[in-house]
């Protein structure tokens, strides 16, 4: 089975199998054709396949008449910020985020610095499928401008948006694992700007991932033991493009990535009250946090594009999901790991509490996640079959099927980035959540034969 997934904001696949120079050029040509005239930013995470993909992207953008601003290895939230700074026509971020090293992806960003919305995404696919690209004659070549240290203007902006003085005064010691991704090395500048002492592991942007670049407890072992060994105040685990973060408390407890959203929301909603946008797959802890501030929770489809677009449309205060990615309206409409880390340190400084104390205030639910591999053409029909398992549940079909039972929910959905069906259940009891997930997995496996 060849793995290639198109979603509204990009294309993702296995390098050499589906992510080939020609496919990348076709997509980037479609993007260059769709965009209005103007420069386009191009950046990538640290994956070894990055230069191959980036050269192809730049070739296509030049061919469709766009000046290219080459940001080199650069986290996606920084690229999204710089799109607005440069008044660029758009940007391409080359990263497969939390996926293993053999994957890569193109993420298309519009002139507002957000992932393409549904309409832009379908326009892009229409141009791609039609295959008529606006290749220019290039009597004069558009320039390729390489920007050195593009993150600096971003960090100096972020410094003014956080309560930097209070964070600095607290003299935190922080452990971070950027997984040798795009955040490597940049974290030194970032935490220095906040006056923190930094202990970093896997801090070379060389694309060798010592573990999958997915922030979750399974991958947080190194951070946890370093937090304990160094007596640090907190630990952070990043994905390869700094769009997701998971947390480790000062006691060395590795928190589920589900906690990033409610921890940040518990502080940020006080600073900036407003609705919370989240996905159907995200823990219901956020409901309890929102009710404390008497703000609504809006549930929508999984993924940065849908969440951020809803946040903008509804004028919500923040959007985030259980993967550890969140966007704060007051900062920028982008999943931004630097903002998340900054706000957590700010909260610890302002409230003068330890991270474990802040987490303790949150209800504990047990969330269990599993996935099964499924041929792309059967994804949605198999998901639909699971209705039979829960005839009496309350059903939301906005994104796959979300079943609400008495004190448990189960979400079955087709991944938008891989040929997988994801099964997530949450309950006050760990055993119950596991039971529901096992039930769905067994059911689907039977259907798959």
């Amino acid at each position: 089975m060849k793995l290639l997934k198109l979603n509204i904001s990009g294309v993702r696949g296995l390098v050499g199998q589906t992510i080939t120079p020609e496919l990348v050029i076709d997509f980037a040509s479609a993007f260059g054709t769709m965009l209005p005239a103007g420069p386009v930013l191009v950046g990538r995470d640290s994956r070894r396949s990055g230069p191959m993909v980036q050269e192809a992207v730049m070739s296509a953008l030049l061919s469709t008449g766009h000046e290219v601003i080459n940001l080199g290895i650069c986290p996606t939230p920084v690229i999204q910020f710089l799109v607005r700074q440069h008044r660029a026509a758009g940007a391409v971020s080359i990263t497969a985020g939390h996926n293993p090293a053999e994957w890569n992806a193109l993420n298309f960003i519009n002139s507002q610095g957000t992932y393409l919305n549904e309409f832009q995404g379908s326009e892009l696919l229409d141009i791609y499928h039609l295959g008529r690209f606006a290749h220019q004659k290039l009597k004069k070549s558009p320039a390729v401008v390489s920007e050195v240290n593009p993150e600096e203007v971003y960090f100096s902006w972020l410094k003014t948006r956080l309560r930097t003085a209070e964070i600095s005064r607290a003299r935190f010691k922080v452990v971070v694992d950027p997984c040798n991704g795009a955040g490597a090395r940049l974290v030194n500048k970032f935490f220095a700007a906040l006056g923190c002492e930094l202990v970093a592991v896997n801090n070379e942007p060389n694309g060798y991932f010592p573990h999958d670049p997915e922030p979750r407890p399974r991958n947080a072992g190194e951070v946890a033991s370093l937090v304990r060994a160094t007596g640090a105040n907190s630990g952070f685990l990043l994905n390869s493009d700094v769009s997701r973060v998971s947390l480790v408390t000062e006691t060395g407890e590795t928190l589920s990535e589900e906690y990033t959203l409610p921890v940040v929301a518990g502080y940020y909603l006080e600073r900036q009250p407003g609705a919370v946008v989240t996905s159907l797959s995200t823990s219901r802890i956020i409901e309890e946090v929102a009710s404390r501030f008497q703000v609504p929770v809006l549930r929508t489809r999984v993924g940065q594009s849908a969440l951020v677009q809803t946040m903008l449309q509804e004028g919500a205060a923040l959007a985030g999901e259980g993967s550890g990615g969140l966007a704060l309206a007051d900062f920028q409409p982008a999943f931004d790991g630097f903002v998340v880390m900054g706000l957590i340190l700010e909260m610890m400084a302002v409230r003068q509490k330890k991270l474990s104390e802040l987490v303790k205030a949150l209800p504990r639910y047990h969330i269990v996640k599993d996935k099964i591999i499924c041929p792309p053409h059967r994804l949605h029909s198999l998901v639909a079959e699971t209705r039979k398992l829960y005839p009496r549940a309350e059903i939301n079909s906005l994104d796959g099927l979300h079943f609400t039972l008495k004190d448990t929910w189960v979400h079955v959905r087709a991944s938008s980035t891989e040929p997988l069906i994801r099964i997530i259940a949450e309950s006050a009891s760990a055993a119950r959540a596991q039971l529901e997930v096992d039930k769905v997995v067994a059911f689907l496996n039977r259907l798959l034969g």
């Binding site: 390098v15 050499g16 199998q17 080939t20 396949s49 191959m52 070739s59 296509a60 290749h135 290039l138």
Partner: protein, 455 residues
């Protein structure tokens, strides 16, 4: 009428019009096929000065990276320098982004194999098979290598040329030189070479902005400015490169263009003085070569048109010098390829060793008159017409190696259907310009008659 988008795939690579037929997609496919063909290893990537060069280069880099090659970017450099560096750096091959003398809206890719030689026709066939089958060996992500950028890689080429010359005797003469680089890739190295050789030079058209100064073929009608400047500057000689810097034409101290075939004749004479051995030239080069060879008592081998054909015969016969009548001098001491930089050095050395001016050196060869012409003719008819002529002239001294060449004791005519355009090329040489002209006109008439009968 449907608009036509010309894309030419031939033994010398692929050429097309940017924004129409030569897209980044096609460039990436060719590079992926080439990377698959070469196997993993270092591959040089160079370019000429065209504005679309960067766009195509990036597509090529992507295709090479995806197939596990290690691209080495050498930037804008003359083609002979890239050929030389491919061997010198033991690269698997090279890709050059160039459409040599095609108009600026064109661009193309040239493929160079191991040893720094153009692909032979059998190799081109293998490589194109991979391209057409579209089955490329993309490597997994962890085996993708980074791009290496090499600055000033061309200096190695100059060093080697200088090492093979009597530099001091050239320097002592302090030659005054006017050089026209046609705003081509030669501008990256020719000025430095002239400086190293102690010349006082006036440089024309050395911009690398991709706007060719004039039609870049170094034929007399394009060299008006150079001739004028040679006289004004009181130069000992004028040099004209083509855009790729593989060919060289000369202007004598009186400001007269010598014709490209004279570059070859002078170079062969000098090369044989340095070292005796077989000479290889193509069918269209002047008879002066045979006369020279007779003087040095060495054999001449004639080949089909096309640089790689000459080069292969040179390697096979251990030739000491050779080339093409279009100003493409091949001196294998440096590297077996047409090279205007090597040719320049040989010309300066021959001037330094002689006490005579260039016009006098050239006069020895002025007894021959080579006339070139072409006539429109659909490709299919052209081949049939040439076949018919082969029958008619069977009794004469003919060569059917490439089209038809008929030789008489002190004249010859060569008729050849073009591989790239619907034309027949005609060349004739004799001891008088009028006679050469007449030979051409007679054959044109005869071909027209044959075409009428065939059509």
């Amino acid at each position: 009428m449907r608009k036509r988008f010309p894309l030419k795939v031939s033994i010398s690579g692929v050429r097309g019009i940017i924004g129409e037929s030569l897209t980044p997609q096609i460039a990436a496919r060719f590079a992926s096929a080439f990377g698959t063909y070469l196997g993993q290893g270092p591959v040089l990537v160079g370019q000429d000065t065209r504005p679309s060069g960067t766009m195509l280069k990036k597509a090529v880099l992507s295709g090479l990276l995806a197939t596990g090659c290690q691209p080495v970017e050498v930037g804008v450099l003359p083609i002979p320098t890239i050929l030389f560096l491919t061997r010198e750096k033991q690269a698997r091959g090279a890709v050059v982004i160039t459409a040599s003398h095609n108009p600026p809206e064109w661009n193309g890719l040239k493929f160079i194999g191991p040893e720094g030689l153009y692909l032979r026709s059998s190799q081109v066939e293998e490589f194109l098979d991979i391209f057409h089958q579209g089955e490329f060996t993309f490597v997994p992500a962890e085996r993708i290598k980074p791009v290496i950028q090499e600055k000033n890689a061309g200096e190695l080429h100059l060093k080697k040329i200088l090492a093979h010359l009597k530099v001091n005797s050239i320097r002592r003469r302090k030659f005054r030189v006017v050089a026209d680089c046609a705003n081509g890739a030669g501008a990256t190295l020719l000025p430095q070479l002239l400086q190293e050789l102690g010349c006082d030079s006036l440089l024309l058209n050395t911009n690398l902005n991709g706007q060719f100064a004039h039609q870049s073929e170094p034929v007399p009608e394009n060299l008006g400015e150079l001739c004028r400047r040679v006289k004004e500057f009181g130069a000992d000689l004028g040099l004209a490169q083509d855009a790729d810097a593989d060919r060289l034409a000369l202007v004598d101290e009186k400001g007269r263009p010598l014709g490209e075939d004279l570059t070859l004749a002078l170079a062969v004479q000098h090369g044989l003085k340095k070292k005796r051995g077989p000479v290889v030239v193509n069918l269209s080069a002047s008879m002066a070569i045979e006369e020279l060879a007779a003087r040095f008592r060495v054999p001449v081998i004639r080949t089909k048109i096309g640089e790689i054909n000459v080069v292969e015969a040179m390697l096979e016969h251990g030739a000491v010098i050779g080339g093409e009548g279009n100003g493409g001098v091949i001196w294998p001491e440096i590297h077996p390829c047409r090279d205007s930089l090597t040719a320049t050095a040989l010309m300066l050395e021959t001037l330094a060793e002689s006490q005579e001016p260039l016009s006098a050196l050239a006069a020895a060869f002025r007894t021959y008159h080579l006339v070139k012409d072409k006539m429109d003719c659909p490709a299919e008819l052209a081949f049939r017409a040439v076949v018919e002529l082969r029958h008619r002239y069977q009794g004469e001294n003919i060569s059917t190696l490439d089209g038809l060449k008929i030789s008489w004791p002190d004249s010859w005519v060569h008729l050849r259907p073009s591989n790239t355009e619907p034309i027949i090329r005609l060349l004739a040489e004799s001891r008088s310009a009028a006679r050469s002209r007449r030979l051409i006109e007679n054959f044109k008439k005869e071909i027209k008659k044959i075409i009428r009968q065939l059509a």
